[in-house]
Structures are given as structure tokens and as C-alpha cells.
């Protein structure tokens, strides 16, 4: 019996090559997409599970769910003082460590070089985070001035990983510190939220001696707290105790006569390290995380693509049912029960699914490496084990086989033998099955069109983000980093002067905020007549900044080096007397239009000459500041982020970046700038980037997303078209007689082509009606994540509809022409 079924099934596959290829190819593509996405989902959900003791290792995060001013913020970072208090207050906490990320300059053989992802820890990180070691012992960080490097970093710096006992010298805060390397870490895998090349232990009390407020400031989230909880500790119980803990620990502050407590806006939470990568907090991260929504979207799209392939399978099976009607009738006459027939047809569909999954596995093996490289992920493709693909593949065969086979099986086994045999029909068509096919084709094209629209909108927004007017002249800027290094304190102005003399340089400015710089600094400003302070971005700039960035003054004036009140420079470190004198004297500031509006001005001119008070910390009170100018709003950051209300403070020293506007050949200017830097500054490496490259990097994630959507859309369209191709072939065959009649009655080839094309265009046109509202809703939601966004015009919708229609027509046109040109005699002579 079964041998007969298998023979019939294989013969059926071999006989109808077109249908077999369409089914197998479509299913294989859909299954491969599912398997690859599964590998990706497993990777994304596996973060930090490899870490020994992960179940007891936690990150302590800071949340601002409802800030008085600005959007909610969820940070992975926390303040240093919180770590001290956690250790003190919770016996369940076994050990903690506070780490700062840095890229200190390394000194080797008298030369300096930059570093990346070096952590400065205040304690024994290895006793909290159980990082695997290749050399040395777990006690490697048990005292200050100890260090560990990863295997790769050891090789990069020393050419060998046999570095235990060696010394490494770093320049930190202007001083050179020697560290003893006590251990070598295994390189961290990519599926970790941790990004570490080396860990360097320092005593923070002495390290921050010149900035002691860092050690007690609750609002300074500058590093990460990791805690090891005692085994068996329930994190929920611990988290429930945090509101009371914060009340006990955070002191009230006085700001302009109003009581203020950092804890009012902030919440804290212990989050297990395995949940950090996909967690709620995705700001102030060590490495970029991901969100569950994106992963769910990918999973849904992969399933949709698979379902499209299953639809093809069902559609072609029912469409061709008539071809097998006689076989069914004969089997019934010979005594087959309906159950046996259903089993036979489901068996056939399982066989097809099995062959398809073998192709899918081969495709996945081929594609996993490029896919992983594209996603910058360590994707693996094994068959057995916890991440094995064998079980999912078997599940796919069963699910796809049953989904694709059950309906046709019931449909085919329903044929009544007497009528089928008597009618002697070759193409019996059961009423209703055609309608179901149309509905399924509409569904397929709705998915394809929606994905094309998503691709177009995501791509359009990327283009928009790169080209939208940022409010300043964003091109032809070379942005130089490392200006905040201690070695450069007091030398910035002189350096800027030398840069100005380089041929091709038009203007030079120094600033805390430049083209997509990471700095984020806010301060409360008290406005007369208001009780609540207004939060404004607070960035130091020099007088050259306006011309270097191409800012436009819309009211008042820009900073003038000749006016002392425009300058807030202090020495470093600042002395209390200096700050008191500055607070007593007051200062001039320039704000942007948004800040002027936040301060209550209807038009920029209104705030010129107004004096407000700027909070200078609990010890110094508030400084009167007078607004002397308003500049046009500028988007210095990604368009994802809201526009900053900015207050610029004039300074001659102490900024983080230098912006150099140039004309002429970029490479020549860059070479000139680097030469001058290296002559002037021997102990800080030169790091600079062109604004065009910075913007390119800024929207890389969006670009990548557009590419992923494009990939999905192409797969969807290919599968939908495979199905349409099959249906067109079937229809052309079924309608041969009708077309013959029409031709005999005078229809031209073109009339017939038009008839068939219209038959298949209708479901595609109807699909638009479903795809458009859904895509509009999803894309509007996505675009709302951007502070400034492209208008959602009908264009991408019409283009997507047009593209789908064009591809559908091209797919079936071949068939249509073939049948339309056929000689009608052949079609009409025999029934």
C-alpha cells in the first residue's frame, strides 16, 4: 500500500515538473528564511547565557519613567554613590563593582596610541562577573593598579598573550599610571552586552580627588554597577525594597528655594545580565542592544513568508485537483476509504515538505555566514544540541506538510467516483475552490505589497534623515576628537589658532556638542515668575564655533571674545573661589530658538537681554545669566532624538571637540590638521572624522533595517510570483478551450492576453486595499520614533502597488502570450 503511495507521489512530482519546482522552491525559500531567523532569534536571546554564574550576576540600572522635563529615559548606567549604598544596605548583595568605560592613551616605548573598550573598575570585577580566564588567577584584580587584558588585546599590545606579570602604562586624567597585568581573559563572544578589551583597577577616591562631587552625585550616571547576589536571592523582592532604599539614601537638594530630590524622578532596578541585551534600558549601554519588538517583527515576517509558500502549495494542489480526480475515483471504486485517501495525500505533502526542508537546510548552510556577517552576529548552524536545527526542521516538515496537505486532501478525497468517471472530464473544477485560491493570492500579494511599502518608507526615511536640513552647514566639517584629554587642558586655544593657519581651513571652533557627539549635559534654569526650573542643554563653545558650524543668529548677537561677560572660562581644576566669583559676576549666554520658546518667548527677540538663573550646584547657588543671542535650532544628533533646547556657554578652554570648516581637498586638509596636531600635541593621538562619514555611521542601523526589509520583500515577492506563475500555467491550461473559442470568434492575441492579465491583476489590485492601511499604520508608528520624519505620502503606496502589479503581469504574461498565440484548432478539436 505505502509503496504504491510513494510511487504515485514520486511519479506525480516527476510528471509535473513546473509545479514540483514551484512548490519545492517556494517552500525551501520560506523554510530557509524561518531557519535563518530562528538562528538569529536564538542568538539574540542567548546573550550572556554563556557567562558562568550568570543567574546570580546583575546590572543595576537607572530609569526615569516620568521625568518632569523631556522624554522618559532608561539607562543601563548608574551613579557611583549608588554602588556604595547597595553594598551597605543589602545583605543579599554578595559583591559589587563600579566600572567606567574609557579609551585611555597607552604609552609604549615612548609612543602613544589609542585604546578602545578599556574598563576602569573600582573593585574586583572578576569576583562579580565570572569572566573566563586563559592565564592567571581569579584574584587578578584584587588590588588597585592590577589589570587584565583579553587574549586579542594582549596580542595587539604585546604581540603575545604571555603577558602575566608585565606592566602596561596608561595616561588617565593627564597622569601616567602603571598597571601590572595579572591575567588574560578569553575574548568575549559577540553574544554579550559586555564589551571589554581590558579591565584596570583604580582606587576611585584618589582617582576623582579633583572632582570629588562624582563620588557623591546621585544624578551622575557615568558608569555601570554590577552586583553578584547571594544564590537563592529573589531579585523581585530586592527590587521591591528599592523605593524605600532610595528614600533612606538620597538627600534633598535646594534649588532656587525649592526642595529637589534626584530620587523623585528616578527608579532603580536589578536586571540579570542575561536580560540586559533585550531589556527595557537601551541608553548608556556598553554595546548596542536590541529590542524584543524588532525580533518579534522578524519572526512574524519569516512566518508570513513561510505561510505564503504553504499557500502556493495548497493553491496549486486544489487547482490541479481535477487532474487527479480520475485517480481518486478509481481508487474509490477499487475500495479505498476516504481516510486512506486523506492519508495518501497528506503523505504526499509531507514528502514534498521533507524534500523542501532538505533544500532549505542546504540553503541555510550556504547563507548562514553572509547572513551572520551582515548582522555582525556569531550565528551558528548545528543540527543537534540545545541550539540544534534538526528538531525545528522536523517540526517544519510536519507543520508545513499538514498545513499544506490537509485541505487539498479533504478536497480531493471528496470527489464522487460515479460523476467523475461518467463526466470523463479532465479538468473538473469544484465550485468555491477558485474563490479560495483568489483569497489566498490576495493575501500573498497583500504581504508582498506591505513589505515593499515598508522597504520604501524605511529607505526613504534614511535618505530623509541624511539630507534633512540640520539647521547648520553639515558638510565640509572635519571634527577632531580627544580635546578633553587632560594633557590638552589649557592648550586648546593655541591649538585652534594654529589650525586656522592651515591652507584650506575656513573656520575653527571648539565645542562640547558637535556633529553627533555623544555628550549630553543638562541644567536647570530658573525663570523669574516660575517655580519649576526649565531644563536646558548646557554646552560650552568658543567664539569660533558659530562660523565653523555655520550656525545662523536669528536675534541678538554671537559671543564676542572682546567682552569679558561672554566668557566663563575657569582654570582646571576649578577653585571654589573662582566659581563663587563667577556666580557673583554672572555671564552672557546664547540660546537656540527652542530654548527661547521653553523660556517663554514667543519670538526670539523677546528673550534678548533677559536674565535668568543657572543652577551651579548645592554649594554655589545660582548664577545670573543674560541671554545675548538666539541661534536657529540645530539638530546635532540623529533625527531619532528630539531636538535639544540648548544654552551655549562661552569659553576659551575645556571643550571636548574641535570642528574645522574647510574648502578644498578634504584629504589635504586632514593631512595638514594631523601634521599640526602631531607637532603641537605629542602625548595625545590624533583622531578626526569628516562630518559626512559621521552622518553615514549615524544612520547605519536604519540603512541596515531597510536592507533587511528589502530582503524580506524580495523573498515575499519571489514566492508570491512563483505561486502566480503556477496558477497562470494551470489557468492557461484549463481555459485553453475557452480561449480557442474566443479566438475563433474573432479575439486577437492582444484581447486574450488582456483577458488573462486582467484575471490575475484583479487579486493584486485588491491586495493593495488590504496592504495599504496595514502598512500605513505600521509605518506611521515606526516614523513616530523619529523626532523629524519624512511625510507619509501616497507615493510609496502607489509605487509598491505598481511594482507588485508589474511583477505579477510580467510573471503571467509569458503564459498568456503562449496560449493566446496557440492555434485554436488544437484546443477545439478534442474535448
Amino acid at each position: 500500500m505505502w509503496r504504491n503511495y510513494v510511487t504515485v507521489a514520486i511519479n506525480a512530482l516527476a510528471k509535473n515538473r513546473v509545479y514540483s519546482v514551484i512548490n519545492l522552491l517556494g517552500l525551501a525559500i520560506g523554510m530557509a528564511a524561518c531557519l535563518l531567523i530562528l538562528a538569529f532569534i536564538r542568538y539574540e536571546t542567548s546573550f550572556d547565557r554563556w557567562l558562568p554564574d550568570a543567574e546570580n550576576t546583575y546590572q543595576f540600572q537607572t530609569y526615569f519613567p516620568n521625568p518632569r522635563d523631556g522624554p522618559p529615559a532608561f539607562l543601563q548606567m548608574a551613579s557611583y554613590v549608588a554602588e556604595e549604598r547597595l553594598k551597605k544596605d543589602f545583605p543579599q548583595v554578595e559583591s559589587t563593582v563600579y566600572v567606567l568605560s574609557g579609551s585611555p592613551t597607552i604609552v609604549k616605548d615612548g609612543k602613544v596610541a589609542t585604546t578602545e573598550d578599556y574598563l576602569i573598575a573600582d573593585g574586583d570585577l572578576l569576583s562579580v562577573i565570572n569572566l573566563p580566564l586563559l592565564r592567571g588567577s581569579k584574584t587578578a584584580l584584587n588590588a588597585p593598579d592590577n589589570a587584565v587584558l583579553t587574549h586579542s588585546e594582549a596580542i595587539r599590545q604585546f604581540g603575545t598573550d604571555d603577558v602575566v606579570g608585565r606592566t602596561i602604562s596608561l595616561i588617565q586624567k593627564g597622569k601616567t599610571y602603571d598597571y601590572r597585568i595579572n591575567a588574560v581573559l578569553a575574548d568575549l563572544p559577540k553574544d554579550s552586552h559586555l564589551k571589554i578589551n581590558g579591565v584596570f583597577r583604580r582606587d576611585f577616591t584618589s582617582y576623582f580627588a579633583q572632582e570629588p562631587e562624582f563620588l557623591t552625585c546621585w544624578g551622575c550616571q557615568s558608569g555601570w554597577i554590577y552586583a553578584k547576589l547571594k544564590p537563592g536571592t529573589d531579585p523581585d523582592t530586592l527590587n521591591a525594597q528599592l523605593p524605600a532604599w532610595e528614600k533612606r539614601n538620597i538627600p534633598d537638594e535646594n534649588f532656587g528655594g525649592t526642595r529637589y530630590n534626584t530620587g523623585d524622578d528616578a527608579d532603580w532596578k536589578f536586571v540579570n545580565v542575561r536580560d540586559v541585551h533585550l531589556g527595557k534600558a537601551q541608553a548608556a549601554t556598553m554595546s548596542p542592544g536590541n529590542d524584543r519588538g524588532t525580533i518579534a517583527t522578524f519572526a512574524i515576517i519569516a512566518l508570513l513568508i513561510l505561510s505564503m509558500a504553504v499557500v502556493n502549495f495548497t493553491n496549486l494542489a486544489t487547482a490541479r485537483a481535477g487532474k487527479r480526480a480520475r485517480e481518486v475515483a478509481l481508487r474509490k471504486v477499487l475500495g479505498a476509504t476516504r481516510k486512506q485517501l486523506i492519508a495518501q495525500f497528506v503523505g504526499e505533502s509531507l514528502l514534498v515538505a521533507l524534500i523542501a526542508v532538505v533544500i532549505a537546510l542546504a540553503l541555510s548552510e550556504l547563507l548562514i555566514r553572509p547572513f551572520a556577517a551582515f548582522l555582525d552576529a556569531d550565528l551558528t548552524f548545528d543540527y543537534v544540541g540545545s541550539g540544534g536545527m534538526l528538531l525545528p526542521a522536523i517540526a517544519l516538515v510536519i507543520i508545513v506538510g499538514l498545513l499544506g496537505g490537509l485541505y487539498p486532501a479533504f478536497f480531493l478525497s471528496r470527489f464522487q467516483p460515479a460523476s467523475v468517471l461518467k463526466a470523463n472530464k479532465s479538468s473538473a473544477e469544484t465550485p468555491g475552490s477558485g474563490r479560495l485560491r483568489s483569497v489566498l493570492v490576495v493575501g500573498q500579494f497583500a504581504i508582498s505589497i506591505a513589505l515593499i511599502i515598508c522597504t520604501a518608507v524605511v529607505y526613504g526615511q534614511t535618505v530623509y534623515a541624511r539630507s534633512v536640513d540640520p539647521g547648520y552647514k553639515r558638510d565640509h566639517i572635519l571634527q577632531v576628537d580627544n580635546l578633553s584629554r587632560y594633557q590638552l587642558i589649557g592648550r586648546g586655544e593655541q591649538l585652534a589658532e594654529r589650525m586656522k593657519r592651515i591652507p584650506g581651513v575656513v573656520a575653527v571652533g571648539r565645542t562640547d556638542i558637535g556633529v553627533a557627539t555623544m555628550n549630553n549635559s543638562n541644567s536647570g534654569v530658573l525663570v523669574p515668575g516660575r517655580t519649576e526650573p526649565v531644563t536646558l542643554g548646557r554646552y560650552r563653545v568658543d567664539a569660533g564655533f558659530k562660523d565653523a558650524m555655520g550656525l545662523k543668529v536669528v536675534a541678538g548677537r554671537w559671543f564676542d571674545p572682546a567682552r569679558p561677560m561672554d566668557d566663563q572660562s575657569t582654570s582646571f581644576p576649578e577653585t571654589p573661589a573662582e566659581i563663587r566669583a563667577l556666580v557673583a559676576r554672572g555671564s552672557n549666554v546664547v540660546v537656540n530658538e527652542y530654548a527661547a520658546r521653553k523660556l517663554g518667548a514667543r519670538n526670539p527677540q523677546d528673550v534678548i537681554g533677559k536674565t535668568v538663573r543657572l543652577g551651579m550646584g548645592a554649594d554655589y547657588g545660582e548664577m545670573p545669566i543674560t541671554i545675548v543671542g538666539v541661534v536657529k535650532d540645530s539638530r546635532f544628533r540623529s533625527v531619532r532624538e528630539p531636538l535639544d533646547p540648548i544654552m551655549f556657554l562661552g569659553t576659551r578652554e575645556g571643550t571636548t571637540h574641535m570642528v574645522i570648516r574647510y574648502d578644498g581637498d578634504p584629504a589635504t586638509v586632514r593631512a595638514g590638521v594631523e601634521r599640526v596636531w602631531n607637532q603641537a600635541v605629542s602625548d595625545v593621538p590624533f583622531e578626526a572624522k569628516f562630518s559626512e562619514a559621521i552622518v553615514e555611521d549615524l544612520y547605519e542601523a536604519e540603512e541596515r533595517r531597510a536592507q533587511i526589509f528589502a530582503g524580506f520583500a524580495i523573498l515575499a515577492v519571489v514566492i508570491a510570483c512563483l505561486g502566480l506563475f503556477g496558477l497562470a500555467a494551470f489557468t492557461a491550461e484549463r481555459r485553453t478551450k475557452e480561449i480557442g473559442i474566443r479566438k475563433v470568434l474573432g479575439a486577437r492575441t492582444l484581447d486574450i492576453v488582456r483577458l488573462l492579465v486582467w484575471q490575475f491583476s484583479r487579486p493584486v489590485l485588491v491586495a493593495n486595499l488590504i496592504a495599504w492601511p496595514i502598512a500605513w499604520w505600521v509605518m506611521r508608528d515606526w516614523l513616530n520614533g523619529f523626532d523629524t520624519r519624512m511625510a507619509l505620502t501616497p507615493l510609496p503606496f502607489l509605487v509598491a502597488g505598481g511594482v507588485a502589479l508589474g511583477i505579477a503581469v510580467a510573471t503571467i504574461a509569458g503564459h498568456a502570450f503562449k496560449v493566446a498565440r496557440a492555434n485554436p484548432i488544437k484546443a477545439l478539436r478534442y474535448e
Binding site: 478551450k737 475557452e738 480557442g740 473559442i741 474566443r742 479566438k743 475563433v744 470568434l745 474573432g746 479575439a747 486577437r748 492575441t749 484581447d751 492555434n823 485554436p824 484548432i825 477545439l828 478539436r829 478534442y830 474535448e831
Partner: protein, 226 residues
């Protein structure tokens, strides 16, 4: 109406050359009812297809009215066919998905005829063949005789100069066969020119002239005494 001289139709495959029509000379005048007879494979249907411009001769001359149609291209042939010829088939060749009315109207769809006129002419021709009461039915709901009436109506509706019928009674029982033949005779009486292929000598007797074929040639012609 049509004049054929030395018409040849060869079919070639890689190894075999089949002569389907071998030097046919045939004249048919307007108003004639011609029956073509002969054993299976003698070339009757090929001749009918060539006459109906569904197939082109590979040699000889074929003048329809005053036009030499032997060398015309496919598009021209389609135009010519549309303007002059109606077909009736043995297997009716109705479109299963369309109603009786729509099947008949189909023949006008490719002519430059307004919707109103199409409707009127369809109604008229349905009356004429006595099928008006089944206008909304599908072909599958009709008897064989009724289906062939629909096919005749469809052949008539465009008012062709020539009606070609390929074994129009082949799929019908005796009663229905007679019914269709009487109808064709009536149409001929009303002025239609008809060329019919048939196996049945009894049905051939309805024609005014009988042409007998064998192996692609005309063996004998016989006129019925008026």
C-alpha cells in the same frame, strides 16, 4: 463565394510528411448548403479549417469573395474570419462559466458593436433558434440538443456570410440530431451559406451538394436535385 484551386496542406514532422489536402479544387456559391463526407482521416476537417481560415494552405490559391487569402498573416486572417465566418462544432465548445446569453454575446464582443445592439441581436437570435427561455442557464444545465442550438445561435449572431459546421450532430442522439439539421436547413433557406462536415449520409441529404473525400482529394461531387 469561395474558390479553391490546387490547395495543398502538408504536415511535416522531423521524419514524416503527411499530405492532408492534395490539390483541392472547390467552388462554393453564396446560398449553397454543402456537406463534406468521407472516412476518418480523409482531410474533411482540415479542409473545413482551411475554408474557415483557422489553418492556412501550404500551396495553391484560395479566393474568398474577391480576396486571395492563401498567403495572409495571422492577424489579417483573424480579421477576415471575424467579419465573414461563423463556426459550429461537434462538441459545442461553449464556455462553461458563461450563461447561454453570454456565450452567444461572446461572438459580438470582438466586433465593433455597441452593448445595446449586442443585447438586441443576442435576444433576436435566441428567439430564432428557440433557446430564449434558457437564456440564464449554464451550458451544463442544458441537453446536448439545446447546447448545439446555443452554438448555432452563437455562429449566427454576427451575421456571417458563411457558416461552417464540423460534425454538428456527432454528439447528439437521433432526435436531437434531426432537430439541429432541420434548423440548419431552415437557416440555409433563409439565405445562409453553410458548409458542413458529417459522417451521416442521412444528415448529408439535408445539403444541396455533397462532396466526398478520400486521402486528401475530392473523389466525387453530387448535387441534390432541386
Amino acid at each position: 463565394m469561395l474558390r479553391m484551386r490546387d490547395v495543398m496542406r502538408l504536415y511535416r514532422t522531423d521524419s514524416v510528411e503527411t499530405v492532408a489536402l492534395d490539390g483541392i479544387d472547390l467552388d462554393i456559391a453564396a446560398g449553397e448548403f454543402v456537406a463534406i463526407m468521407g472516412p476518418s482521416g480523409c482531410g474533411k476537417s482540415t479542409l473545413l479549417n482551411v475554408i474557415g481560415l483557422l489553418d492556412s494552405p501550404t500551396g495553391g490559391s484560395y479566393v474568398f469573395d474577391t480576396t486571395e487569402v492563401a498567403g495572409l498573416g495571422e492577424a489579417k486572417l483573424a480579421e477576415f474570419r471575424k467579419a465573414n465566418i461563423g463556426f459550429i462544432f461537434q462538441s459545442f465548445n461553449l464556455v462553461d462559466e458563461l450563461t447561454v446569453r453570454d456565450n452567444i454575446e461572446l461572438a459580438l464582443l470582438y466586433h465593433d458593436v455597441s452593448a445595446r445592439e449586442r443585447r438586441a441581436r443576442t435576444e433576436e437570435v435566441m428567439d430564432r433558434v428557440g433557446i430564449a427561455h434558457r437564456a440564464r442557464h449554464r451550458p451544463s444545465q442544458l441537453s446536448g440538443g439545446q447546447q448545439q442550438r446555443v452554438a448555432v445561435a452563437r455562429a449566427l449572431v454576427a451575421a456571417p456570410k458563411l457558416i461552417l459546421a464540423d460534425e454538428p450532430t456527432g454528439n447528439l442522439d437521433t432526435n436531437h440530431g434531426e432537430e439541429v439539421m432541420r434548423m440548419l436547413q431552415q437557416l440555409n433557406g433563409e439565405g445562409s451559406t453553410i458548409v458542413m462536415v458529417t459522417h451521416s449520409p442521412a444528415h448529408a441529404d439535408y445539403a444541396s451538394r455533397v462532396v466526398n473525400m478520400l486521402d486528401g482529394r475530392i473523389l466525387q461531387e453530387r448535387r441534390r436535385a432541386a
